[in-house]
């Protein structure tokens, strides 16, 4: 008997009598004999709480990367997470609650999502947002499908500087419907080639621009928006929310849809998930938006309350005609975002964003000064940048790890020595100087 169940011998007897059978085996007999597993599952013997704690801790300790000073980004960032967030997430009222289909007893979750939607709409400069998506990549793929539904066109334009993992997810989603993807080239300095884009956008449902892009470069969203709209396409901004505290909001720059990854706002790195995608759009596109949306209403007594709304777009009503197959959101991670943004507030979020930028500029200056290191792009970056080292980037990362630093993420498509390095507000000057020293030594310069 596991410690999670409480039906013991006497109870069991009484229950079998009530059902009118002699043993539990009679219940199992609903499964035809030849389809039953005639043996015990081949799994490890049960571990007690104490044993399992030790086993899990031993596994966790073998993840040496978790102890390194983290300069890796490429879609997942080591930002500061205030203590309050986990205390709120660990309230069983939030984490053991079900999807808020019974609104009268789910006002806590519903209102949190309403506040989340408001914050994401304001951050993106758009009219509305949904209750969250699986992650940034799947949100981008759903945005592509949404743009094609809205414009009734069958391809989207994607620049060469979109996160390649996002592109892979978009390709997977779009391939099934026979939809096409048009590639927009980059100028040598890293900016989008808008002159080339103009010709390529003909007949596209959307231009999808990552801001800042995968290489960390801040793109001209307004120019992209003008080009997209001139071709009758929508602009989908794949937005870094931390950068959006300082950069022009996607909505103000002309984006029709904004999506992105919310991990930077209070969600642990956790080896890649669970994270939380966000999606916001203009008011007139709301019925094309996939996923859950919470609306405000009143109860019988006129009291304010919140419910799931616009459900007629969703799978449980429209089935094969549904806007998407999404049945869940990332409610708990969206709650982490909401608490994070509440704590940070206007000034804290802006200061976080500014510190990321200042520190990235500082570190890039140090690293680009190492002998033999070359800037891959020259356009201005936000908190992440690509440099090419005179050493294979995988080897560079391994050697830096031995000295206590996770130096970045290799970008083999830009060269053997190309490394994408990210800086958050958590990194200190001492850590950045330390990394610079270590990389100098690895590249054949002075002692680390």
């Amino acid at each position: 008997m596991s410690r999670f169940t409480s039906i013991l011998g006497a109870d069991r007897r009484r229950m079998l009598d009530t059902i009118g059978i002699g043993s539990v085996d009679e219940l199992v007999s609903a499964v035809p004999a030849e389809k039953r597993l005639g043996r015990r599952l081949d799994l490890p013997s049960p571990a007690s709480e104490l044993e399992l704690t030790r086993e899990a801790s031993a596994l966790a300790e073998r993840n040496r990367a978790a102890g390194l000073v983290c300069f890796a980004g490429a879609g997942a960032y080591d930002h500061f997470i205030p203590s309050v967030i986990d205390h709120i997430l660990l309230r069983s009222e939030f984490y053991t609650a079900y999807t808020p289909y019974q609104a009268e007893v789910s006002q806590g979750t519903l209102q949190c999502i309403f506040e989340y939607q408001t914050m994401m709409a304001r951050l993106t400069g758009l009219d509305c947002a949904n209750a969250s998506m699986y992650d940034g990549a799947s949100a981008a793929a759903e945005a592509a499908l949404m743009a094609m539904r809205a414009t009734k066109r069958d391809r989207v334009a994607v620049p060469a500087s979109l996160n390649p993992r996002y592109l892979a997810v978009i390709e997977t989603y779009l391939a099934q419907g026979g939809f096409g993807i048009v590639r927009i080239p980059l100028l040598p300095d890293g900016r989008l080639d808008m002159a080339a884009a103009a010709g390529l956008l003909e007949g596209c449902a959307a231009l999808m621009v990552q801001q800042p892009d995968f290489h960390g470069i801040v793109q001209d969203l307004k120019a992209a928006s003008d080009a997209a709209h001139a071709a009758g396409a929508l602009l989908v901004a794949v937005t870094d929310p931390v950068a959006a505290a300082v950069l022009e909001s996607p909505g103000a720059a002309g984006a029709d849809i904004a999506v992105g990854e919310g991990q930077s706002m209070g969600v642990q790195l956790s080896f890649g998930g669970p994270y939380v995608g966000f999606m916001a759009c203009r008011k007139d596109l709301v019925r094309n938006m996939p996923g859950r949306i919470i609306g405000r209403t009143v109860d019988k007594a006129g009291q304010t309350g919140y419910v799931l709304t616009l459900q007629t777009r969703e799978q449980h009503i429209r089935r094969e005609k549904a806007t998407s197959n999404i049945c869940s959101n990332q409610a708990l991670m969206a709650l982490a975002n909401t608490v994070y943004l509440s704590l940070a507030g206007e000034s804290g979020f802006r200061e976080t964003s500014l510190q990321c930028h200042s520190k990235a500029v500082y570190l890039e200056g140090r690293l680009a000064g190492i002998e033999g290191v070359r800037r891959v792009f020259t356009a201005p970056f936000y908190r992440e940048f690509v440099l090419e080292y005179p050493v294979d980037a995988d080897e560079l990362v391994r050697k830096a790890a031995d000295k206590g630093y996770l130096a970045g993420v290799p970008v083999p498509s830009l060269g053997r020595g190309a490394l994408l390095t990210a800086v958050t507000e958590k990194r200190t000057r001492a850590e950045m100087d330390g990394l610079a020293g270590v990389l100098t030594a690895i590249c054949g310069g002075g002692a680390a």
């Binding site: 073998r62 405000r296 449980h316 991670m333």
Partner: protein, 486 residues
């Protein structure tokens, strides 16, 4: 009993988070990017202190029903107890602080956990290979269907675009079919609530890509003809997909792979006790037969030549479903659950789920119509509220009345083939006392329907808010603070 939004508590200058002073020269973004590229004006975030923030969200939390307080008899959703230790395990610094793109040899513990969990899930389902990437059940459905699609495409069989599906299927099934590029063909249910084999046979053919089936099905009935069903589909040239949402009934008892299925997904947030989090995160790994493994999404856990775990790519991978490796934090919880229960514990959990469901069904039979009641159910069952509906009380009213009694409502109006349906799944972690209390509440509501029906139609009355106006929420859409209808 309501709480204003956090924006109403905002007061200029308050702040709930502090940062160390900047220790490098401050860079003016206007100088770098130009003022045109910068945000004009404020974002509009609340300005509140840490203590205000904590109080706001704690106050909101008290408006929620939750599993640690009371029972969720939710059919198809398996709301079982969420072990506390698993939360601690997912939060170990070696897991929580691990960057997904760090070199594999520095992430060996996490990779080994994923490899082991994958092996456990293969053993539980009777399959050979698995992807842990899908983010939720429906995401897993799409993944599994894409495996089927690519299997046919690689054989040059491009005309197979139909997926057979019973009319009792979960709503995500047909939606996933559409996303995966297929058409849905409905198969009727017979008088026993199972797949109508003759109807299936008449619809299976050269256009059939596969079958998508939940077993036990959404009526809580094990498809007794499953061998025949999968044979018909295979003979027509299709593959068989099992929606594993109801796997909580089968752990250690029967395996999809042994039943004739080729691929299935699991809902880790149901069967393997990961908390639902108010709507997510979930996780929907997909397991399959060896000959489908080469199409699995990128990446999969492999062993290097030196025997180290690493991330690799399936030979003919159809692509990628998520930016990174899946919901690792959810995987860690499921791993911990399986390690805690072991082989006997998993089987006992399923057997107890069956026992609890059948006990509850026996108690409710006196007051409610139970269609398809020929024999024992599996871990859930469906009751029909027609008898009460004839007296003017809908199933939705009874569901709302249950909230007044301190229980969450069961799943209502699903499956769609039963009128006024209520789908009940107690799970194995409910005690006899809680089952009796729930049955007591249901029987009491049935009496109210006869004696004081307004108590039920006016429900709920003991909840933080009364019955909410959902029609108004759609007509007068207001989805953000400060919304202006146009």
């Amino acid at each position: 009993m309501t709480e204003g939004t956090i924006f109403h508590e905002s007061c200029c200058g308050r702040r709930g988070m502090d940062l160390p002073a900047l220790d490098v020269p401050r860079v003016d973004p206007a100088a770098t990017f130009g003022t045109d590229a910068l945000r004009k004006g404020a974002v509009g975030l609340p300005e509140v202190s840490e203590s205000q923030t904590v109080r706001h969200f704690v106050n909101l939390s008290t408006l929620n029903f939750h599993l640690d307080k009371e029972m969720y008899p939710l059919g198809s959703c398996t709301m079982k107890y969420n072990p506390k230790l698993n939360e601690d395990i997912a939060r170990l610094p070696g897991f929580a602080g691990l960057h997904p793109l760090a070199p594999a040899e520095l992430c060996e513990g996490a990779l080994e956990l994923m490899e082991n969990l994958g092996r456990y899930l293969c053993e539980i389902t009777g399959f050979d290979a698995v992807t842990l990437q899908p983010a939720a059940g429906a995401h897993g459905e799409m993944t599994g269907l894409l495996l089927i699609r690519h299997w046919h495409l690689e054989r040059g069989d491009t005309g197979r675009l139909e997926i057979l599906m019973p009319d009792s299927a979960h709503g995500t099934n047909p939606a996933s079919c559409t996303l995966a590029g297929f058409r849905t063909v409905n198969v009727k249910s017979n008088a026993k609530g199972e797949v109508d084999i003759d109807d299936l046979r008449s619809k299976a053919g050269p256009a059939t890509a596969g079958l998508m089936l939940t077993n036990p099905n959404t009526l809580g009935i094990f498809e007794s003809g499953i061998g025949e069903i999968t044979r018909i589909v295979h003979e027509a040239g299709g593959l068989c997909y099992m929606d594993g949402a109801n796997m909580n009934a089968l752990m250690g008892i029967a395996r999809p792979g042994d039943m004739g299925f080729d691929v299935c997904h699991l809902n880790l947030h149901k069967t393997f006790s990961t908390p639902h989090g108010g709507g997510g995160p979930g996780s929907g790994p997909v397991a399959c037969r060896q000959d489908l493994a080469k199409y699995l999404p990128d990446p999969v856990v492999i062993r290097t030549a030196e025997g180290r775990p690493a991330m690799g790519r399936a030979r003919a991978s159809f692509g990628r479903m998520l930016a990174f490796h899946g919901h690792f934090g959810v995987l860690a919880r499921a791993w911990a659950y399986i390690r805690t229960l072991g082989p006997e514990g998993l089987r006992e959990a399923s057997e107890t789920a069956l026992l609890n469901a059948n006990y509850l069904k026996a108690l409710l039979r006196e007051a409610f119509d139970i269609p398809y009641d020929d024999g024992p159910c599996m871990h859930e069952f469906v009751i029909c509220g027609e008898r009460q509906a004839r007296k003017g009380v809908k199933t939705l009213d009874m569901a709302k009345r249950l909230l007044d009694y301190g229980f969450h409502a069961p799943t209502v109006y699903f499956p769609m083939i039963v009128h006024e349906s209520m789908m009940i799944e107690p799970t194995e972690t409910e005690s006899l006392e809680s089952l009796d209390a729930f049955a007591g509440a249901m029987l009491s509501i049935a009496r109210e329907v006869d004696e004081k029906p307004h108590l039920v139609t006016d429900a709920p009355c003991a909840t933080p808010v009364l019955r909410l106006d959902e029609v108004r929420a759609v007509k007068e859409l207001e989805v953000v603070e400060g919304w202006e209808s146009s």
